[in-house]
């Protein structure tokens, strides 16, 4: 033990150096953990876990579907197609657009047509709403389905073989914010209509009811193509 006492200063110095090295090594390890490749690896492994979880739940769902009886799935499918065809009245968040003819006094010599609502105005609005992800649309209680027409008949508009005069009420179900934004964007449909004094009001509602389609779908000429059908 005598020799140890002799070299005390040296030993202390060595130990201080050792401590510094320990601290620096600790910090370096900490740095490595925060570098991009390391983080990326961690990120990827996290994503892998997430994907695996998703796959497992999807597999479970698939099994459930396979286990549920065939009749059940057919009923579910029929319900879906009925909804898609417009045979079922639906409700949900969306907006109600009311469009009325211009009340502005016409200047002499001007074309009165500019101040009336036309079928193409309605079509533009409807088109914009479909594009914004509307799931169900109706004009004055007439559900718009695949074969629905919108055309001018004199001063009125014909929808689903039924005539309507202004004001027109368009009901749309979909994300209210997206639908509203699609109509009200700068240079959009509403702005163009308002230029001519046509009154258009857009109201978002949490619960919009859209009526069912009252007609029938007929296929007189069209037949399903056999080779294109799956299975």
């Amino acid at each position: 033990m005598r020799a140890l006492k002799q070299g005390r200063v040296a030993l202390a110095f060595v130990c201080i150096v050792l401590g510094i090295m320990l601290a620096v090594q600790f910090r370096t390890t900490q740095d490595i953990r925060s570098t991009i490749p390391f983080q990326r690896a961690e990120d990827l492994s996290q994503r892998l876990k997430l994907a695996e979880k998703e796959r497992d739940s999807a597999l479970r769902q698939l099994q459930e579907f396979e286990n549920s009886t065939r009749a059940e799935s057919v009923v579910r499918e029929v319900d879906m197609f009925r909804m898609a065809a417009g045979y079922v009245a639906v409700e949900g968040p969306g907006l109600v657009v009311t469009i009325d003819d211009s009340k502005r006094a016409m200047k002499p010599g001007e074309n009165p047509n500019l101040y009336l609502i036309h079928d193409d105005d309605m079509l533009k609005v409807i088109n914009e709403l479909w594009a914004a992800g509307a799931e169900a649309l109706s004009i004055n209680e007439q559900r718009l389905v695949v074969g629905s027409e919108i055309r001018c008949v004199g001063p009125t508009i014909m929808v689903n073989d039924t005539r309507y005069s202004p004001p027109y009420e368009i009901r749309a179900i979909g994300d209210p914010k997206t639908l509203e934004a699609s109509l009200k964007m700068r240079g959009g449909v509403i702005e163009t209509l308002q230029f001519w004094g046509i009154q258009a009001t857009v109201k978002t509602q949490q619960n919009v009811k859209v009526a069912a389609y009252k007609g029938t779908h007929k296929f007189q000429f069209a037949k399903p193509l056999q080779e294109d059908t799956p299975k």
Binding site: A3, A10, C15, L18, G19, I20, M21, A23, Q25, T28
Partner: protein, 109 residues
């Protein structure tokens, strides 16, 4: 016996307060150097307990061992041989041996 422990603590504090950080690529070298130093310290402790402690041998061993270890790993890196693991293994084994001898000494006492 308290002095070395105290010195290590002081060193750690110095290292933490002076933000000297190694580039990540050199982390390996520092790790090997650290292992070599630890080995030297434990070897020194063992020598002291065996009454064979020699100051110059201890000090020179501490630095030369660390530097040589770093040099070896560096050369290994250049040649594509992972001497890092070899060095870690060798030093680790020696540290454990020294620790075992130190433990035995304390138990006998």
């Amino acid at each position: 016996m308290m002095l070395p422990v105290l010195a290590v603590l002081v060193g750690i504090l110095i290292g933490l307060f002076f933000p000297v950080s190694m580039p990540v690529e050199y982390g390996k070298f520092l790790a090997v150097a650290l292992l070599a130093s630890l080995d030297s310290v434990f070897g020194g402790l063992r020598a002291a307990l065996e009454e064979k402690f020699d100051n110059p041998i201890f000090i020179s061993g501490f630095f030369v061992n660390a530097l040589l270890a770093v040099l070896l790993v560096f050369i290994g890196e250049r040649l594509g041989i992972d001497l890092y693991y070899v060095a870690s293994l060798a030093f680790g084994l020696r540290i454990f041996q020294n620790l075992a001898i130190i433990r035995r000494y304390f138990l006998k006492k």
